[in-house]
């Protein structure tokens, strides 16, 4: 019987853009924490606290997260400047939700 996915939050803040290696440090920590349970967790990339313009680099980061964790969603996306990259996310099977409460969990 399939178990309910366990939500894990990744907040995008200004540090993501200003601190070099901020993403990789957190991503590697998550890999270590959930190494044997990547199928069980739902990574929720959240824009609750910061609404940036999405860059190509960020899409590559999302792809890397998706390669390790099969269940990834983007939440609190209302107000984010996607610049056409939201279609790429959908192509990677990463659903985008405008709010946080409707992420299907």
């Amino acid at each position: 019987m399939a178990s309910t996915l366990i939500p894990v939050l990744f907040h995008i803040t200004q540090d993501y853009y200003t601190e070099k290696g901020h993403f990789w440090e957190r991503f590697m920590s998550a890999k270590r924490l959930y190494g044997g349970h990547t199928e069980d967790v739902l990574i929720m990339i959240s824009y609750r606290f910061y609404k940036p313009a999405i860059t190509r680099k960020q899409i590559e980061h999302f792809a890397e997260v998706k390669r390790t964790f099969p269940h990834v969603v983007v939440v609190h996306a209302k107000g984010v400047q996607w610049n056409g990259h939201d279609a790429e996310l959908k192509g990677m099977e990463i659903p985008v939700f405008e709010e946080g409460h409707n992420a299907g969990i």
Binding site: I6, P7, V8, L9, T13, Q14, Y34, D40, M44, F49
Partner: protein, 136 residues
């Protein structure tokens, strides 16, 4: 001037809008946002790890119950033995049996194969002897 003094007295002396104070409050707001993000993120990790630990514990409990059931079944089979020494010896073997259950199945298949081979070669030897006796 302390930070508190600067915020209270210093602000009153400022002509509105004061750029320095606005910058300060902007930084303060940024720190508050970062700490709120950090807090919710850490809580989600703690909650997730707790749930993973709970699920692992459920898995361990299921395995433990299976072992207990097997032990109860072995105990029921050994229970009728009245010889104390033999019974103790049989009970000592229980953990070995539980650990090597898979290996034992393989060994029993190997043992059966050996017996069949021996039976075929024995039958061939007897048959050969019979033929030899008939042809004499």
């Amino acid at each position: 001037m302390s930070a508190v003094d600067w915020l209270t007295e210093g602000r009153q002396q400022c002509t509105s809008p004061c750029e320095e104070h606005e910058l300060f409050f902007k930084s303060l707001s940024l720190i508050a946002t970062k700490s709120a993000a950090f807090e919710t993120e850490m809580l989600s990790h703690l909650s997730a790890l707790q749930e993973i630990a709970r699920r692992e514990q459920v898995g361990r409990d299921i395995r433990a119950h299976k072992i207990l059931d097997q032990l109860a079944s072995i105990e029921a089979k050994v229970g009728h033995v009245t010889n104390g020494g033999l019974k103790d010896a049989m009970m000592d073997l229980v953990p070995v049996i539980l650990n090597a259950r898979g290996n034992m199945q393989v060994e029993s298949i190997k043992g059966r194969a050996k017996i069949i081979t021996a039976a075929i070669s024995g039958a061939a030897a007897v048959g050969g002897a019979l033929i030899g006796w008939l042809l004499r």
